[in-house]
Symmetry: C2
Subunit: 417 residues, 2 copies
């Protein structure tokens, strides 16, 4: 049996002494479970051993590969729990227009905005969507993400939503990183379909739940998108079908979706830029997690969620890239971590917890990934630094030095440095 050992590592394990398997909240997020100089061994894609100091000598004749990481940080692969990475088309022309001073309404009138992506996705084949998504997963992985959630939501019809989810499933089967689909039929309102809301709730959702049992159901609750009442009806139906609930809430306006999510026992509320202090407190005291998506606040210049306040209130927070073609054209989890620290005022340790263990909890995968523990899948990154704070205090970096996915090593330094 072939064994790989990463030695001479600063192990940022994210393991918790008390063995708790729940999201870390408030103060708990500061504790990274660091082993300052240690090693981790991997066999058949799993973590089989770890400790401080030097690893025990290999048995004679053992097929063992040792990699000296020279004091660099070894930590769990990043978990991107909120992306819209499955799309077709390109919105650069729209960005050019915006730069020239075109208003939001002018861009919409010219065919821009989310419906432009919907049109491109509807006319794309499953194969094209799969190929595009594989390319983007590769970009995300080069930057350190080893588990990636991908939402539908650019189809907005039963057929096109199922096509997107089929492309996400195909990508999942073709690539090593873990890929988790989410159903976001409630992303925008199709202006050309007067029955859109009813159809999404009564036809698309049941069809998706049948084809993808247990898939999470997400909604975008915002002025001009799904209303609070529409979301409530969707969530009731989703729960009846056994689908966990997530919601995009309070990106620009606070419509009450955070309260609805708490009452519905939702897994997460994502965005939180415009959440009221009262709602933030209620969320922090609930079992529903908050997901920060600071890349869109950065791109749109619209401000950031109060991450610091949420953690101080005892909330459980995750961070995600929100990778999408309109408001967050970036595949970078490290940049999301950097913004969560520099703009949402989390500490570097809190942000790292939010991007690993807590993000794994959002996806229900904390027994498989999100920390370095014996028995877990060997999804690891070796940072190009001996200090994990580099993820927070440097930005737009080229990504980790090595990435290990299910025990397979990918050396990301072809310049040989």
């Amino acid at each position: 049996m072939s064994t790989t050992i990463l030695e001479n590592a600063r192990l940022v394990t994210l393991a918790q002494g008390n063995g708790a398997r729940t999201p870390r909240r408030g103060d708990e997020m500061e504790h990274l479970g660091v082993i300052e100089r240690g090693w981790v061994s991997i066999e058949s894609g799993r973590i089989t051993g770890m400790d401080e100091g030097t690893p025990p000598g290999g048995e004679a004749g053992s097929d063992e590969v040792r990699i000296d990481v020279e004091g660099r940080v070894v930590m769990p692969g990043l978990v991107d729990c909120h992306t819209h990475a499955c799309w077709a088309g390109c919105r650069f022309d729209e960005f050019d227009e915006k730069l020239r001073g075109a208003s939001y309404l002018e861009i919409l009138a010219a065919g821009g905005g989310i419906m432009s992506t919907v049109r491109s996705v509807r006319s794309a084949s499953v194969e094209e969507l799969t190929s595009n998504l594989l390319h983007r997963i590769e970009q995300m992985t080069r930057l350190g993400s080893t588990t990636i959630e991908v939402k539908s939501g650019y189809g907005l019809s039963t057929e096109a939503e199922l096509k997107m989810l089929e492309a996400i499933r195909s990508a999942k089967q073709l690539i090593e990183p873990i890929v988790i689909p989410t159903f976001l039929g409630a992303h925008a309102i199709d202006p050309d379909n007067p029955d859109f809301i009813e159809q999404t709730i009564n036809e698309t959702l049941p069809a998706v739940a049948q084809a993808f049992p247990g898939i999470a159901c997400d909604a975008y609750c915002e002025d001009g998108a799904w209303s609070l009442d529409q979301c409530r009806r969707l969530f009731e139906e989703a729960q009846a079908l056994g689908c966990p609930i997530r919601v995009h809430a309070d990106q620009f306006n606070s419509l009450g979706a955070t309260r609805l999510a708490i009452e519905s026992g939702a897994v997460s509320v994502d965005h939180l830029e415009a959440t009221t202090p009262d709602d933030l407190r209620a969320l922090a005291h609930s079992d529903t997690m908050g997901v920060l998506l600071p890349a869109s606040g950065y791109h749109l210049g619209e401000g950031y969620a109060s991450g610091r306040a949420f953690v101080d209130l005892g909330g459980a927070v995750a961070i995600a890239s929100n990778f999408n073609p309109g408001s967050a054209p970036t595949p970078s989890m490290p940049f999301a971590i950097h913004l969560a620290v520099n703009r949402c005022r989390l500490t570097p340790s809190e942000a790292i917890t939010a991007a690993t263990w807590n993000a794994a909890c959002v996806l229900g995968l904390q027994d498989e990934i999100g920390s370095i523990e014996i028995g877990k899948r060997a999804d690891l990154v070796v940072l190009d630094s001996t200090d994990e704070r580099a993820l927070a205090w440097e930005f737009a970096m080229p990504g980790p030095r090595l990435i290990m996915i299910a025990g397979q090593i990918h050396d990301l330094t072809p310049l040989g440095g």
Copy 2:
């Protein structure tokens, strides 16, 4: 003779039909010299041919490697004309303190700020500085930079400035990207040396000019750093020694250094965040170039230079990363391009001109690099996109797909995607 051909490429040549070798200014910056579907051939590290369409068939028995780039953008390697990438030590503790609310003065009192880096550099060996710099050049190159300027300026004594420049020269000899040193003895004021200004002008500068003939002389003109009169004296001495002049001006306060630079025939004025409209106009109408360093405005949250106004006034602009451990901890030229567009309002084409041809002009290297032309050094990047606007409209990306430095190919997609 072995020939490499990149074919099926969108060639963004930056070549100018009229053959002018001067910086592009105003409207001229919009023209990228695009060949929509073409090829470029490379032999012995040089560009030997290029045209639209498909390349002529290789002669029988010729040792020719053809790479189909599948419509992706092939463009000149990025030229980073302003970095402080040679340093020792780490300022993450200081960033942690700032996050906890420490003021600038408290951080200074605790030993932070630029003088903390100066102390680390003074106690580092040439070998340590060289090794650190090589690591950072590798990071910059992974993101697409193939020519990199590096300033001294953390030594602030004759001995320590020469040590830094020695490290930069060593790195230059050990690595394929072009490395250009600049003397920045006038970076800060050593508070412990009452003769610091006189010594820098009368002792350090002449010693540096002797050891590095023709090296550019740079100064940081700002409240608390070098005054306008001190810069004037330094520049007079530098010119007498045959050193071209550059200046950091108007980062926080407008002290008149932009006017001084124009009068002195300086190569460039870098920063420009606080430049007055009158000075901006004077600069645009002069032969001195303006260099945007938007990563520090981003990192400090202090605002950006009026790049749009400067180009509209007919100015010649370059963009650089400003990579340094305090105000711009990023090696990324693509991120600087992105900020120059999204925050300084340049168009994507203007920003690409600013990061290639014009940046080469700042370093006096436009006959060697900065465009795809026959006879030039084969420093090329193959973007991970068929649209060069990806450099502007996406951000924190993992870097180009392929990098060619002096004809040598580095494949940056070890994930095999």
